[in-house]
């Protein structure tokens, strides 16, 4: 083998090794970086449904908010267009939802709705920039508790679109600016449903 051929062989061997080991290097970096806490600034929306019935159904969904923000505008189906959903019920039974929300937004913290009956207890309150809805359903054979906590900024963003539509992308964008928060909690004898926001890319339960 001539010296030129040997030199050529070394170059080829180096290139082949570089190509072969490049993915391993990436993999090693990725593995070391992997943890339950995602990269800086990432916000994850988690949905967890746990059923204690005989089948023991469990659903875990983890969605990066940024991904949802980017993907939603690509969906053009039924009532969802360009990240906005047409609800057609913003003026329900003569009640203008926007006007009601505007009144709630500009008012001081407090409990706005309290309904107590044999069937259910319902309360709606505003506290520290959050809108709380609490429903205790007594009517079902198995009592259920529903708690919804929505940052006012998110509601505001949802209603920022034109009339009769909710701007989901704007809502998600506003949600991304919030800290860790449990948005929805539903509990009854058989099911537990949670929707929450944090910076972890896995469900730690």
């Amino acid at each position: 083998m001539t010296s030129r051929t040997r030199h050529f062989f070394h170059v080829i061997a180096f290139l082949a090794a570089a190509f072969l080991y490049a993915p391993l290097g990436t993999q090693a970096q990725t593995s070391s970086a992997q943890s339950s806490t995602s990269a800086h600034g990432e916000r994850w929306l988690h949905v967890r449904v746990i059923s204690t019935n005989s089948k023991g159904e469990t659903v875990r969904v983890n969605v990066p908010l940024e991904l949802a923000e980017k993907v939603l505008p690509a969906i053009d189906h039924d009532r969802l267009h360009n990240g906005k959903v047409r609800v057609g019920c913003m003026d329900c039974d003569g009640v203008d939802v926007r006007t009601v929300f505007e009144a709630v937004r500009s008012s001081k913290d407090g409990e706005f709705v309290t309904v107590q009956s044999n069937d259910a207890d319902v309360s709606v309150m505003k506290k520290e920039g959050m809108l709380f809805v609490h429903v205790h359903d007594k009517n079902k054979p198995k009592h259920s508790q529903v708690e919804v906590k929505v940052p006012m900024k998110v509601v505001e963003a949802l209603l920022s679109g034109s009339k009769d539509e909710l701007d989901i992308v704007a809502g998600l964008h506003a949600l991304a600016g919030q800290g860790d928060v449990e948005l929805v909690s539903v509990k009854d004898d058989e099911n537990t449903i949670r929707v929450w926001l944090d910076s972890k890319n896995v469900t730690t339960d």
Partner: protein, 146 residues
């Protein structure tokens, strides 16, 4: 003799480089195992690098057009999801247990992994997100304008 050695070296190096490049792009893998009766076992491993090219040669033109027409309206969505998911190379996305049925969708090392199990059948799919991105972009581009 030296000439033969040079030819062999050139050929060998080309094969090594081509192989290294091909597998560096990842592998599209589909495993289907049926365990009931005379269950079928399908195991397909395809280098992801050749998928976008192979689409044009392996799939008949008629079928390709049909696929493009049928998938056209979904491709922008698939493309957006694949493109964004590449930013999350390690993520648990969906996990569903329903009695004996189980579905898991996650990303690992830049691959989208789908595992589905039910009594008598298991399906595992692994595909590099970059490949899904390439293919969806290509199908979206080729689709007739509506």
């Amino acid at each position: 003799m030296v000439l033969l050695a040079k030819i062999a070296l050139g050929f060998g190096a080309t094969v090594v480089l081509a192989g290294a490049y091909t597998f560096r792009e990842g592998v599209l893998r589909v495993d289907v195992d049926e365990t009931h009766g005379r269950g079928q076992h399908v195991h397909v491993w395809v280098p992801a690098a050749i998928v976008p090219m192979a689409m044009h040669f392996v799939v008949p033109r008629g079928r390709m057009l049909e696929a493009e027409e049928r998938s056209a309206k979904f491709m922008p969505l698939v493309h957006a999801v694949a493109k964004e998911l590449q930013k999350y190379p390690e993520a648990e996305l969906v996990e569903v247990h329903d009695g004996p049925q189980y579905i898991r969708v996650r990303t690992h090392n830049g691959n989208l992994l789908i595992d589905a199990e039910e009594p008598g059948q298991t399906v595992h799919v692994s595909c590099p997100l970059a490949t899904i991105d390439d293919v969806s972009r290509e199908l979206a581009t080729l689709a007739p304008a509506s």
